[in-house]
Symmetry: C2
Subunit: 243 residues, 2 copies
Amino acid sequence: MNKLYVVGIGPGEYEQMTIKAAETLKNCDTIIGYTVYVDLVKEHFPGKEFLTTPMTKEVDRCVMAFDEAMKGKTVAMICSGDAGVYGMTGLIYEIGERYPDVEVEVVTGVTAAIGGAGVLGAPLIHDFAVISLSDLLTPWEKIEKRLLNAAEADFCTVLYNPSSKKRKDYLQKACDLTMQYKSPETVCGIVANIGREGETVKVMTLKELRDTQVDMFTTVFIGNSQTKRIGDKMVTPRGYRNV
Amino acid sequence: MNKLYVVGIGPGEYEQMTIKAAETLKNCDTIIGYTVYVDLVKEHFPGKEFLTTPMTKEVDRCVMAFDEAMKGKTVAMICSGDAGVYGMTGLIYEIGERYPDVEVEVVTGVTAAIGGAGVLGAPLIHDFAVISLSDLLTPWEKIEKRLLNAAEADFCTVLYNPSSKKRKDYLQKACDLTMQYKSPETVCGIVANIGREGETVKVMTLKELRDTQVDMFTTVFIGNSQTKRIGDKMVTPRGYRNV
């Protein structure tokens, strides 16, 4: 059987990969991914064939992965974080319908929400929502609705893709919507380049977050009504009753 | 400096632990956790001191961890999945205020939402909410509000702690609330014992989920309006426009 693994490599640091992910990459013939992620793992897996496509060419990348697998190679498609959270696993299963002879296996990883939470302290101890601010494939009205509903229900909220060159004011918009239900003093945090060179972390209020510039490598955390600062950490308690 | 690591061991299978988690456990003196999780890792880390407390004794377990660290031992507190999602990290930081001489470090892991998604296919490719159905520390009205808001905004929803002896009908209630906004035909999935002996997985409709009995080792996934079945997998597309 031709085999295609979809592998989440974690936030970026080799040690944050699962043992299974490292073994899968060690045992495969070909590693395929977006250029930036292939560069992150390259040095740890010498002797492999590496194939890349640019960021917007996700469909091409999946077809390439299946075509390589059809040649009899064991192929690993890599994603940062986990491949099942805004990653390639969905597209792989969709395109896989055309390749019944290739068996797909998912190897999970630590997504940015989890990796970033570990750097910030413990923001996600209680119920949370994960929302991408990218409106490339989702109408902005849908994103707006989710931001409002998450805020109204007092979820902790994690924002992926909080900014890009074309969407400079989206985080500001998201904070303004959130403040319709949450206090401007709500404890928030941002983490950039988790587990990579240049890792930065900052805890602040929602009001301060509104006026903060972030880039596409940043993950944003908005606390719930119980979230607090303990020292330089962002901590959400386990529940709403005293422990 | 006295050192306390809070380590997420992943869904259960040794290979799904991160490299960093395995190295941390290998290099520590004492491993502390809930009995079930200590039993899962014991064989892989011979020669360590293992300390356990029952499930409800979380505060005692944290105090024990700090007390052991104060003796000069390197201590690892373990949780299943990730320690930052309904895990011990929050409590560790709260109790840690009383132990300024102990340095806390978080080692992240694959939480059940991520691990279960990998088994089901790709249910969490788009925005999602994570909700625990346990009302031990959270008023049920708050849980209800979150279920309704998540359904209204068309989030994929992951349910932790979907059932226990005392809460036999909570999943049924959750499904009924969700059906106020989502179609009874919404694609759903359940995974039990992820990466452990007895792993089971099933894809079904929301209507069928309503009448399914699950236990506390099960994680439940409710799709969004776009989620579909591909073969025996549960797959959510990347967005709301055609790719």
